[in-house]
């Protein structure tokens, strides 16, 4: 065993102290994990209780039998399936556009020569550090000028110019698309588009997968952009629709929890399958 930080590398060499230390670590990390999961647990439990049961003392700790009633209430208050559909549509469009545009540009930045390449890349990277609130007002005005207010394209088109996407694609293309392969294909008379489509893209699959996951999740969760441009409940994506439930005077907590749980489940499933790849991708900027 190597690289034990905080605890000695010799933990395995028995010793009561070492074993105690190891169990202390298990206990602390375990309690911390419960602390991370508890709010999710209550969200799922509350989704199955009526409003009056949720606000009982003590609050319920185990599932009740009002899930169906809560769901009915939810679909009465908001066009739930429509909102869910828009969320899915926006997330898929956003993912498709981001993958296409960022992979093309990332490939060019990594393996081709053109004027102002360094300056352009530097400019794109610099915007990654800009606080998101800088964009809030001008984004609204552009969407207004384009007539895109209350339209879904206002949500998925701007995101396709993702600085993070370009960064990830360029890094990966640089390290795993061999320059010689591209050049020999060009010598053989292969067109530029087919080089990109048939040679570069297949080699970029792992990074494309990571970028797809990140883009999908970011779009699925996005709150601030829909908040700024969307105007009518039937056009809302799910997070915005759920929040609109909360602002009415008598918040139906059971229904709201039910909606939040349904919005969260796809993410948890996706994350359970892909957590390794996703975490590696999200921290890629830090490790490289």
């Amino acid at each position: 065993m190597s690289g034990a930080a905080g605890l000695p590398a010799s933990v395995g060499k028995a010793g009561v102290g070492a074993r105690a230390a190891r169990w202390t670590a298990y206990a602390i990390v375990g309690v911390g994990a419960l602390f991370m999961l508890a709010p999710f647990w209550f969200m799922f439990v509350f989704a199955t209780h009526s409003r009056s049961e949720i606000f009982n003392l003590p609050p319920p700790l185990w599932f009740g039998d009002d899930l169906a009633a809560n769901f009915r209430l939810l679909t009465e208050r908001i066009p739930f399936w429509r909102n869910l559909g828009w969320s899915l549509y926006v997330a898929l469009m956003s993912t498709a556009l981001t993958l296409l545009f960022c992979s093309m540009a990332g490939y060019a930045f990594a393996l081709m020569e053109f004027r102002f390449k360094k300056a352009l890349f530097g400019l794109v990277m610099a915007t990654m550090l800009l606080p998101s609130f800088m964009n809030m007002i001008p984004m609204f005005m552009i969407m207004d000028a384009l007539g895109w207010i209350d339209q879904q394209r206002a949500l998925y088109v701007p995101g396709a110019a993702s600085a993070f996407g370009i960064f990830l694609m360029r890094q990966f293309a640089q390290s795993s698309v061999p320059r010689e392969l591209v050049e020999s294909a060009r010598m053989d008379g292969c067109g530029e588009f087919s080089i990109y489509w048939r040679i570069v893209l297949p080699l970029m699959k792992p990074a494309l997968g990571t970028l797809a996951l990140i883009t999908f999740i970011t779009s699925w969760n996005n709150f601030i952009n829909p908040l700024i441009v969307m105007r009518s409940l039937p056009n809302y994506t799910l997070p915005l629709a759920l929040r609109s439930l909360q602002s009415t005077l008598n918040t139906e907590w059971g229904a709201l929890m039910c909606g939040s749980a349904i919005a969260t489940i796809p993410l948890i499933v996706l994350f359970a399958i892909t957590s390794r790849q996703l975490i590696a991708g999200l921290t890629a900027g830090a490790v490289k």
Binding site: M1, A4, A5, G6, L7, P8, S10, A25, V29, G32, A33, M36, L37, F42, M43, I54, L57, P58, F101, M104, A108, M112, E113, F114, V124, T127, L129, S132, F133, I137, P138, F140, M141, I142, V157, P158, A160, A161, E192, F193, S194, W220, N221, P239, Q246, S247, W253, L256, S260, T264, L267, F271, A272, S275, R276, L278, I279, L282, T283, A286
Partner: protein, 302 residues
């Protein structure tokens, strides 16, 4: 499949064709908005009057912001929240990463996934979740505090004194796992022999952590703290949703970003809001620079 020569892309033009979709979007939705917002910061404008109602007012918007009580109050709120949520994140994430690194091998991926889960969950779902947990009379958090510590019920979300700690707690809960993962990744690059040698020399675990682990992951600490500074200063969604978009009792949870939003969309002052966004940008840049400086001088001293 061979395309006719006219449609074939020459290698000379190919890079421009490949980058142009991205660059067009980047120009329209990335660069142009920034320039426009700078222009707007010197204009007086109410969107209801149309683009013609714009009027050059020089530095008046900046002067207004600097004299505005709410601007300063929201900045203080933001700094308070950034520190109260940011500092504990790192103080907890560092030892936590060390524990996971030392004691977990087979279960490591699962443990990391659990800690990372809040980071990928929607803020709206999280805010809704915590809204009920923090509820005064029937919330789980008050019930637990009363049960275990005999504490009286606290009005977390309805009093100016308590809403900040409540929000700081949520932000802490959400990002502590992200930092843990960063530190864990850095710890994995420290060679194990260093620890073995230190153990032979009789160095305690605490000393090993302080003298091997911490210096070894120093660049990552710098990176993580920088992200927390930048992220903490643009805090928007948690306070916005938990206070119904208004900023909470006596605006105690109105962060700068929330105020910016309200200045533009509630009070229709787009010029003023743009000027504020540039002032805040300067604050973010300044604090990022100070963070950088702090890490550099301490490295020089060590």
């Amino acid at each position: 499949m061979r395309l006719p020569p006219l449609l074939r892309l020459s290698p000379k033009w190919a890079p421009y064709v490949f980058i142009s979709p991205f660059l067009i979007l980047f120009g329209v939705f990335g660069v142009f908005p920034l320039c426009f917002s700078l222009y707007l910061a010197f204009q007086s404008w109410e969107p209801t009057g149309g683009l013609r109602a714009m009027e050059y007012v020089g530095l008046a918007n900046f002067a207004f912001a600097l004299k505005d009580d709410w601007f300063w109050m929201s900045l203080r709120n933001t700094l308070w929240l950034a520190i109260a949520s940011g500092v504990p994140q790192h103080l907890v994430a560092l030892p936590l990463a060390a524990f996971i690194h030392a004691a977990f091998k087979r279960l490591r991926d699962g443990v990391i996934a659990v800690y990372f889960l809040p980071y990928i969950t929607s803020t709206v779902a999280i805010a809704i979740m915590f809204y009920s947990l923090f509820s005064q009379d029937y919330g789980m958090i008050n019930a637990a505090l009363a049960q275990w510590f005999g504490l009286p019920h606290t009005d977390w979300l309805t009093s100016a004194a308590h809403i900040k700690p409540a929000i700081a707690f949520i932000v802490f809960w959400r990002y502590v796992g992200f930092n843990t993962v960063l530190y864990l990744a850095a710890m994995q690059t420290i060679p194990g022999e260093l620890y073995e040698a230190a153990t032979l020399d009789g160095a305690s675990r605490l000393r090993q952590f302080l003298h091997i682990t911490l210096p070894g992951i120093r660049p990552m600490i710098f990176f993580g703290v920088t992200l927390s500074v930048i992220g903490g200063l643009q805090l928007f969604e948690e306070p916005f949703i938990l206070t119904g978009g208004k900023g909470g009792p006596q605006q105690a949870a109105m962060t700068s970003a929330v105020y910016l939003f309200r200045e533009a969309f509630d009070f229709n002052d787009f010029g003023g809001a743009s000027a504020m966004s540039w002032l805040l940008f300067l604050v973010v840049a300044l604090l990022t620079w100070i963070t950088n400086l702090a890490f550099r001088t301490r490295r020089g001293a060590a």
